[in-house]
């Protein structure tokens, strides 16, 4: 159930609509300091349902919306869509018939949020249920943030236990 594509619009430094297409295997993302690579990782965490702005390096969730640069004004909303492959048929009903699933999250500066599965409006809990059922929701060890790897082995015993429980 790999990631086929990520679409970003107005999310952090991705002001213009950007479509990133991935393959299976190893995909290396490269570029100079500050160009937006970790912002891509933040986008995946965000569309997977991240609720804490601090986990996305912000103080408020509003800070994920493009706030202007180089003559471009700030935007009013941020949107990220994640397209997941269902070639192995592991996605549970009612989506098991699709060959791919698109999950979209949108946040307006007003604070309003919208959620979509395959471009059909849904509630946040429908998305979190979908991810829980496919095992993605549980695997916090699947995304390792920049600068955080050395801390993994210095975690408290209860946190290391939590990693084992996620794999159980």
């Amino acid at each position: 159930m790999h990631i086929k594509q990520i679409e970003l619009f107005g999310f952090k430094s991705f002001v213009d609509k950007a479509i990133v297409t991935f393959s299976t295997g190893i995909c290396a993302v490269v570029g100079p300091n500050g160009c937006g690579k970790s912002n891509l990782v933040d986008a995946v965490r965000w569309v997977l349902g991240e609720q804490s702005a601090k986990q996305l390096r912000g103080k408020l969730m509003e800070e994920v919306i493009f706030n202007g640069a180089n003559g471009r004004p700030s935007l009013n909303f941020a949107e990220v869509s994640l397209v997941l492959s269902n070639e192995d048929g592991k996605v549970p009903p009612p989506y098991h018939e699709y060959s791919e699933i698109m999950v979209t999250r949108r946040l307006f500066r007003s604070g309003d949020s919208e959620y979509y599965i395959n471009r059909t409006p849904c509630r946040r809990m429908d998305i979190s249920k979908l991810f829980m059922d496919t095992g993605i929701g549980h695997r916090h060890y699947a995304i390792i943030e920049q600068g955080k790897i050395s801390h993994v082995v210095e975690s408290k015993p209860e946190d290391i236990r939590a990693l084992i429980e996620e794999a159980a």
Partner: protein, 161 residues
């Protein structure tokens, strides 16, 4: 359930005992359940010994050793219970060249069962990827995705930075 947790702990532990020496070119690593509480609540400790060195507390390890030990634990989790995809942001930054080579070798194995998305500044790591994606900021403050192919790797990378 207690049984399921203990089975998983044992499986991850056995995998760690196999993976650790592959990354460290020797040495040993394992997980230990603390005995101060019921197995349903007790914490888990990770104990590692780089080749030829004596077992010391994790905090005394070097920056590179901590990152590599963490990779050993994470790779063991990935092998026991693969995630559909995993995303690693600059985890190779503290590693020297020899450790990066061993790291990539085990990562290749993981990538047969999971999609691996890797953010890196390291040329060796880039060379082993199946797909290379470039992010640029030609217009300051505005990110753009470009696809990069392997022939163009070294000069594109030069151009991008």
């Amino acid at each position: 359930t207690r049984k399921r947790f203990l089975q998983t702990l044992e499986a991850v532990n056995r995998k760690l005992e196999e993976v650790f020496p592959l990354l460290f070119n020797g040495g040993s690593g394992h997980l230990q359940l603390l005995t101060d509480r019921d197995p349903l609540e007790a914490g888990v400790e990770i104990l590692v010994q780089p080749p030829g060195k004596r077992l010391t507390s994790m905090t005394l390890l070097s920056g590179g050793e901590k990152a590599l030990a963490a990779a050993a634990l994470l790779f063991s989790l990935y092998m026991i219970r693969p995630s559909p995809f995993c995303i690693l942001d600059e985890v190779d930054a503290p590693l020297d060249d020899a450790n990066i080579d061993r790291f990539i070798k085990v990562l290749k194995r993981i990538s047969l069962d999971s999609q691996v998305i890797l953010i890196t500044h390291n040329k060796r790591t880039m060379e082993t990827s199946d797909l290379l994606l470039g992010v640029t900021m030609e217009e300051p403050g505005i990110s753009k995705i470009i696809s990069v192919n392997f022939q163009g790797l070294s000069d594109t990378h030069e151009q991008m930075v």
